[in-house]
Assembly symmetry: C2
Homo-oligomer: 131 residues x 2
């Protein structure tokens, strides 16, 4: 249970850094080495420098919509863990995979992957077929 | 290096199960417990039953495009590991996060997350602005 609480706090710290648009707080969330990231629609990013550079671009973008997270679920596998959650961004929903590694008494992020959840609409025939 | 080779083989077995549309081979790729999955556009799935049910639907769908993977990169963190790769599906590209847990001498999949990579086109003004 202590692990789960610490992981929920580490996951919340990631989204708090987003909400404050704070690259320093974001850098503190991430591990020092062997980190990777897949932003929505982006290619795979590898390495702390490349990952933190991407967050600076995103956090300092004035058009970036606020990101909030809900319904986190935690899976601990020894000294690594997954937190999966649903992000709300600009009216859309994304599913997120956040991976953490235990470093001393802390959990540090080692991978983030987020992607849009497609909202399935009630099916209606395409308008062109009605004419 | 032995870990990396074994993980590349486990990752390849996942895509081989896809190519053969073989739910039994797919079930063998996955760990027995605490597994999760985020298919492109889908919500978070939790639990072996729910995950394997989703693969049966996908593998047995006659309209499912073939899935192949390339450029895998491997990150080992003790008894878990990430394999990130680029999937080709129906002319599109997806970025995939595949997580594995060491179980005895084998690596078993514990999480899969795949999402489309947006191909950035040369920017042109929207048509409506020309009129």
């Amino acid at each position: 249970m202590a692990d789960e609480e610490a992981l929920l706090a580490a996951n919340a710290a990631y989204y708090a850094a987003f909400q404050r648009a704070d690259p320093t707080a974001m850098a503190d969330v991430w591990a020092q080495d062997a980190v990777t990231c897949i932003h929505p629609g982006w290619m795979i990013l590898e390495g702390r420098d490349e990952v933190l550079k991407s967050y600076r671009l995103i956090l300092l973008n004035p058009n970036q919509d606020p990101v909030t997270a809900r319904r986190p679920v935690v899976y601990v596998d020894g000294d690594t863990a997954r937190v999966l959650c649903v992000e709300s961004v600009g009216g859309g929903m994304l599913a997120a995979t956040n991976l953490f590694r235990r470093e001393g008494t802390e959990w540090k992020m080692i991978h983030h992957h987020a992607s849009p959840i497609v909202q399935r609409m009630t099916e209606a025939p395409p308008r062109s077929r009605l004419n």
